[in-house]
């Protein structure tokens, strides 16, 4: 155990690798109930789990599955209306469940550490990081003011925090999410707790920050020998960090297994479907259909008497509905709560259990809506546009030309270049995927296209016709052709309008339908997005997140648009819902012949849907081209880092670690030379720092980046199959990346 100054070893603490098998933390048949106005809600029922020191136990489940309640109930922390109904939760033999808070205060913090989801909210905004950390040392290690600070600084050092002294004197709002989560981790580990609970610690972070936190966890696991309970909905993350995994569904554990076993051969139909809900990198792209799990989580107040998953399960038989199936030991160290788990052992059985939703959405017949004739299909022929000349591409539905947006920065007289001269085009019936970390400017670009943000310079054309910089100046006929699906289902619908009203309005306004006709058509649209017609009269508050997003999609498609901008339409939804929505988005394109500008930070989602991909960093495109080409070597170093940061839901994959240097970009200052150079893992020295990189085309051509004609460069790049904006020649890049992989 590493020595912390002044650290007093608490008697009774578990320790030593020899006791690895003995569980440090163990819940037995734990049930948690919330007393609400609707009666008691049993959020967690009879859950037995155990974690040994040095082991990482993952708990995976969708929102509402009770995983956080399980963790909080297990350590005796529940809100006023929550109560442990039955069962025990032992830490080193002492039962924590249902014990008075007064006694638990000596356990919390000292023997149990917790890191929760949103570090910005979980840390007190009015206290410095240092003071918040010092409280741990002072309270649990009986350290003095100075010793506590020294312990805090030492711990910050151990979580690889650069300049701990400075960080300790900062307030939470002055640090990035990744840094904060690192501090929260350091704070939780300060007392060397026996159990560390990590509740979605990386969910709010960018994929690159998530990767560094996960790397750190790997290191810390080895150093601290703590029992870790890792709660997440992200299958990739559990695969990456956990030794064993428990899958939770509706307050119960449906399956428990070691990580490799679970991913290799799920023995519960829910797990099997869950694993197929999300698109995987390097998958089949647009042809592949994702699994969906029809229906929704059962209401906690109204649970089925049998298997809780039975109403949604394709394998369910009469027995399943009769009584709750017990969690049985299938193999050594494997448990499943499915009566028919045997079926899943064969590949055939697994295929029957999967609900691949092969039924494509009925093509949208927009008979009632006068539609502009679709343009000729875009011929993707890079050679037709000679490099170095600006080409107007009439075959493209949408062209964005040198768009830029500058906003006043946080400091006086500073400007932030949210979008810094971007050019791209989207073909008819094509999907252009735009990826990048948060703050890369992809949303701003989308808003410029939509006319919601007025660009500082640049133009947007629709089939060659220039569009006004702001929606208010655009012609209704243009508005009809260009619609948007927003990120947050919570705010994209007016909470005081019914689903029907929301969908009817564009029909009345843009398609000029009579109210009666519009109502009829709205019902058809709701059906097209797979919502029952009865939802017509529902308010958004009465819909789930996925359902709201379906209404939003129906609304966007109502007037028969030619281009729909999708700004992270699925990223805030549960995985099982994401799949279905992405299927829907794909189907609608096939049926209605719509083009998409699809924005996401999720590379896999973008790859799944897009024909053409652009990678954005700090307001500018770094790489762009045919979907398959962009995601295959040679990559732009940034794309490479993004790709390597994505946790793959496969514990066996030897991941290739390629991490970005430095802190995440703050968009205040655009770096000189190549804007990516401060963080570039393949940084080449002065050249990168001083000179803007050229666009290198996959056919070997190079377009020198000239400040005077950046638009030309991007346009030409867009025309090529694949282009990368980097100083390193493509074949050198490919070689470097090949070497890194080995």
């Amino acid at each position: 155990m590493a020595a912390v100054p002044g650290h007093v070893t608490t008697p009774g603490r578990m320790g030593g690798p020899g006791q690895l098998v003995a569980p440090t933390f163990k819940t037995e048949r734990l049930s948690v109930v919330y007393l609400t106005e609707q009666g008691p809600l049993r959020a967690v029922r009879g859950v037995s789990l155990s974690v040994a020191a040095g082991e990482t136990m993952g708990v995976v489940g969708e929102s509402g599955s009770g995983k956080t309640t399980l963790a909080l109930g297990a350590i005796g922390y529940l809100p006023a209306n929550g109560r442990v109904e039955s069962g025990t939760s032992r830490l080193a033999g002492v039962d924590l469940a249902g014990r008075p808070r007064r006694e638990l205060r000596h356990v919390w913090g000292s023997k149990v550490g917790l890191v929760s989801q949103n570090p910005q909210a979980a840390l007190n905004p009015t206290l410095t990081i240092g003071r918040q950390m010092d409280e741990m040392g002072r309270r649990h290690l009986s350290l003095g003011r100075r010793a506590a600070r020294e312990a805090s600084l030492a711990m910050l050092e151990r979580v690889a925090m650069p300049d701990p002294q400075a960080v300790a004197s900062r307030y939470p709002h002055q640090l990035s999410g990744g840094m904060l989560q690192r501090c929260a981790l350091a704070m939780a580990l300060l007392t060397h707790p026996a159990v560390l609970i990590l509740d979605e610690p990386t969910t709010g972070l960018d994929v690159t920050s998530q990767a560094t936190i996960l790397d750190l966890l790997d290191d810390l696991k080895a150093q601290f020998h703590t029992a870790i309970l890792y709660i997440t909905h992200n299958l990739g993350v559990v695969a990456r960090v956990c030794d064993r995994i428990a899958v939770m569904y509706a307050g119960e554990i449906s399956e428990e297994a070691t990580a490799p076993d679970l991913f290799a051969q799920p023995l519960h139909p829910y797990t099997a479907n869950l694993l197929r809900c999300v698109p995987r990198l390097g998958g089949q792209g647009t042809q592949e259909r994702l699994a969906t799990i029809p229906g929704s989580l059962p209401q906690m107040g109204d649970l089925p008497s049998g298997c809780v998953f039975a109403p949604r399960c394709p394998l369910a038989v009469e027995d399943c509905r009769a009584a709750r199936p017990p969690l049985v030991e299938a193999n050594a160290g494997r448990k499943t709560a499915c009566l028919r788990w045997q079926i899943l052992r064969s590949e055939e059985g697994r295929q029957t259990a999967l609900q691949l939703d092969l039924r494509a959405a009925a093509p949208l017949t927009l008979s009632a809506v006068p539609r502009a004739p679709a343009g000729p299909p875009r011929v993707r022929d890079g050679s037709s546009s000679p490099p170095g000349t600006l080409v107007a591409m009439p075959q493209d539905l949408l062209t964005v030309e040198d768009a830029a947006k500058e906003c006043p920065g946080p400091r006086p007289r500073s400007t932030v270049k949210a979008v810094d001269g971007t050019t791209l085009s989207v073909g008819a019936q094509q999907t252009f995927g735009l990826v990048g970390e948060s703050g890369s400017g992809k949303t701003t670009l989308a808003r410029i296209v939509a006319g919601l943000t007025r660009p500082t310079r640049g133009h947007v054309h629709l089939e060659g016709t220039p569009l006004g910089p702001s929606v208010s100046g655009r012609d209704p006929s243009v508005l009809r052709r260009l619609q948007m699906v927003f990120q947050s289902p919570e705010t994209s619908l007016n909470p005081r309008q019914t689903a029907g009203q929301a969908v009817m309005r564009p029909l009345v306004l843009l398609a000029g339908l009579e109210r009666r006709e519009a109502g009829q058509r709205a019902r058809e649209l709701l059906e097209a997005v797979r919502l029952p017609a009865s939802y017509f009269d529902r308010y958004p508050g009465e819909l789930s997140g996925g359902e709201k997003q379906r209404v939003a999609i129906a609304r966007a498609f109502a007037a028969g648009p030619d281009l729909v901008i999708c700004d992270e339409p699925v990223s805030s939804l549960d995985v099982s819902v994401q799949g279905a929505l992405m299927n829907l988005i794909g189907d609608l394109q096939d049926g209605a012949g719509t083009s998409y500008l699809f924005i996401s930070h999720d590379l896999a989602a973008v790859q799944h849907l897009s024909h053409f991909i652009g990678v954005m960093y700090l307001g500018a495109l770094m790489e762009m081209g045919d979907a398959a080409r962009v995601l295959a070597s040679p990559y732009h170093p940034y794309t490479e880092a993004l790709l390597s940061a994505v946790p793959v839901p496969d514990p066996t994959s030897r991941d290739h670690r390629m991490r970005l240097r430095g802190s995440p970009p703050s968009s205040a200052e655009t770096p000189s030379g190549c804007r990516f150079h401060p963080r570039c893992p393949r940084f080449q020295g002065d050249l990168c720092r001083d000179q803007a990189p050229p666009w290198r085309l996959s056919d070997g051509g190079v377009i020198a980046r000239d400040a005077a004609t950046p638009a030309t460069a991007d346009a030409a790049a867009a025309a090529a199959e694949h282009a990368i904006c980097c100083h390193i020649p493509l074949h050198d890049l490919a070689a470097l990346q090949e070497a890194g992989r080995r």
């Binding site: 205060r105 919390w108 929760s116 007190n124 905004p125 009015t126 409280e135 741990m136 307030y171 704070m187």
Partner: protein, 314 residues
């Protein structure tokens, strides 16, 4: 931070300036006649006219405003029309009296209100919470002059604890005036108490729900530590602004309360000035009040910023 304070200060000055226009304008369209007020209703028209002329009431409004504002800024607040006293002297003296009363009231209802609000939030929906909420509400609906009657009946007439009138002599020091300040202070406090209780309760309840309070609790900190270090620091932020806004309420309450208790404060002076159509006195007293009110809000803004690192470090 300095920029922030300067900007806020600019707002205060702008508001006070605009208010001065309103004050001046309103006082000059006030019906009723100063000359009649001073000379009595049976005085001759001629006498009244010459008095008006003497007072400069026959000049154009713009000229009057200009000279008034510049005099005001130079500290010459004029002479009271109805008493002949130096307006500045009497206003500042009454201001200091009101400040004493406000201080007493402030120290009654602010700590008590915060305390009760925190208790109510801490034990949310318990019977203590209900009792506190209903109890503080019971007084909010009663105008000060009714509360005063009831308080006098109990504490003065039945118990003989405090004097029923607070007509303290000029120059009375704080401690010798204290007994006279309790009942009026309590009167003002009772109406303001509910406000502070409700705001504190809401603010604290909200903070108690935050993730960082959960974090603090799960760090195993004692309840006191959680409350004082983590909860109050954040939950009192909005309360600070509320209390500053309450200064306006307090001043309004003082007008009535000081009149009932015969307390020689600014509130009673304002009322006197309005009733007497004593323009210089109305103008000076209202400007003083507006300025105090604006400064209280400024102080609250600055306090808010000081307590809130998100604003402090910009």
């Amino acid at each position: 931070m300095t920029g922030f304070i300067l900007r806020r200060l600019g707002f205060v000055i702008l508001t006070v300036l605009l208010s001065s226009v309103l004050v001046f304008g309103a006082t000059h369209v006030l019906p009723g006649d100063v000359a009649t007020m001073i000379l009595g209703r049976e005085a001759s028209e001629q006498a009244k006219d010459s008095l008006r002329q003497e007072l400069g009431l026959d000049r154009s409004l713009v000229v009057q405003y200009g000279s008034w504002l510049s005099d005001l800024a130079r500290g010459d607040w004029g002479t009271s029309l109805s008493t002949g006293e130096d307006v500045r002297g009497v206003t500042l003296e009454r201001l200091s009296n009101s400040a004493m009363l406000a201080l007493v009231a402030f120290f009654m209802y602010v700590p008590l209100g915060i305390f009760l609000g925190v208790i109510a939030a801490w034990r949310r929906n318990s019977y203590i919470d209900q009792v506190i909420s209903a109890g503080s509400l019971a007084f909010v609906g009663l105008p000060e002059f009714v509360t005063a009657v009831l308080l006098i009946a109990v504490f003065s007439r039945a118990l003989h604890w405090f004097p029923s009138s607070s007509a303290i002599a000029p120059g009375t020091g704080f401690f010798s005036a204290l007994p006279s300040l309790i009942l009026p202070g309590l009167t003002v406090s009772l109406t303001s108490l509910a406000y502070v209780v409700r705001m504190t309760r809401a603010g604290t309840a909200e903070v108690l729900e935050t993730d960082y309070v959960r974090t603090a609790r799960l760090k195993g900190l004692s309840a006191g530590n959680v409350l004082f270090r983590h909860v109050l620091r954040n939950s009192l932020l909005p309360t600070v602004t509320v209390i500053a806004a309450g200064v306006g309420w307090l001043i309004g309450g003082l007008i009535v309360t000081e009149s009932v208790f015969g307390y020689p404060g600014l509130g009673r002076l304002v009322l006197f000035a309005v009733q007497r159509r004593d323009l210089p006195l109305i103008q000076a007293t209202t400007m003083v009040i507006v300025t105090i009110f604006a400064l209280a809000n400024l102080a609250a803004d600055i306090m808010y910023a000081l307590l809130n690192p998100r604003i402090r470090y910009r």
